[in-house]
Amino acid sequence: MAARIGVVLFPGSNCEHDAVEAIRTLGGDAEVLWHGDDDLRGVDGVIVPGGFAHGDYLRPGAIARFSPVMQAVQSFAADGGPVVGICNGFQVLTEAGMLPGALQKNAGLKFLCRMATLRVETTDSVLTSGTEPGAELRVPVNHFEGNYTCDDETLAMLRSEDRVVVRYVENVNGSVDGIAGVCNEGRNVVGLMPHPERACDDLLGSSDGAPLLRSLLESAAKAAV
């Protein structure tokens, strides 16, 4: 049976249908989860999608992290369930303390909407388990506050524990160490700024996001057993 992915919808999310569509295209099952609900309806994996949850008021992700659904997502992740935060979803996961670091305004204060090339730095994560180490993937970015930052101690920890999941080949937004995505200690929670769900069909200019979301589906199927 196909793994079932829940895509969280906050007021202001705008990539939830892209994520649902991409998961279904890849043979998975997907449904939208409402931010006000406190259960995940038995899904096997969770995507926290992009957009502007709660208008990005205060800071991106700062208000969304207090949603009832996020309590459920935190318990799900604590039990080893696969969770992927994309773009604004990455910001939500850092604000919730599920991933280290923070996302600040892009260097140069530019809103970026372009294709980026990512290098897979570790295949030991729920988002990259089915990819080749060192693989270069073309995946679009679309953000203003995607400049990953953390203190030196955290950066040293991320490097030594092999928790930088993907890096920009060309550092598009000023992120420390070119970091585009990181994972938690259990490697079942991954956050990244680029949008793999928008790169799952050649008609969209790239299908390089497919192996990433396929990895999530496989991880979810394993977690479901």
């Binding site: 205060l58 700062a62 600040q104 140069g108 204060l109 400049n147 930052t149 000023g174």
Partner: protein, 86 residues
């Protein structure tokens, strides 16, 4: 008792502030010289009802740490004064 509260948040020392540096770079073009170290933050003003200043301050510190700032990238300054009617 009612207290007036002002919270100011700004990027922590050592954290890049692209907004501040963009403003700083544009100052000479406008003829302003000698201005350095521009940092951009936010200011919050609200009222707190509490028994005394210490408990009002403790409450605001908690709100700051858990909600108004992201301690990874931001610092804050809290000012609590006994309430005026403003």
């Amino acid at each position: 008792m009612r207290f007036d509260v002002q919270v100011e948040t700004r990027p922590r020392a050592g954290i890049a502030d692209p907004e501040g540096s963009t403003i700083e770079r544009s100052l000479p073009a406008l003829g302003f010289e000698g201005i350095t170290d521009v940092r951009v933050g936010k200011s919050f003003r609200f009222h707190v009802d509490a028994d005394d200043e210490a408990s009002a301050t403790a409450l605001v510190e908690d709100v700051c740490a858990r909600f108004l700032t992201n301690p990874v990238i931001e610092d804050s300054t809290i000012t609590v004064t006994e309430g005026s009617t403003v």
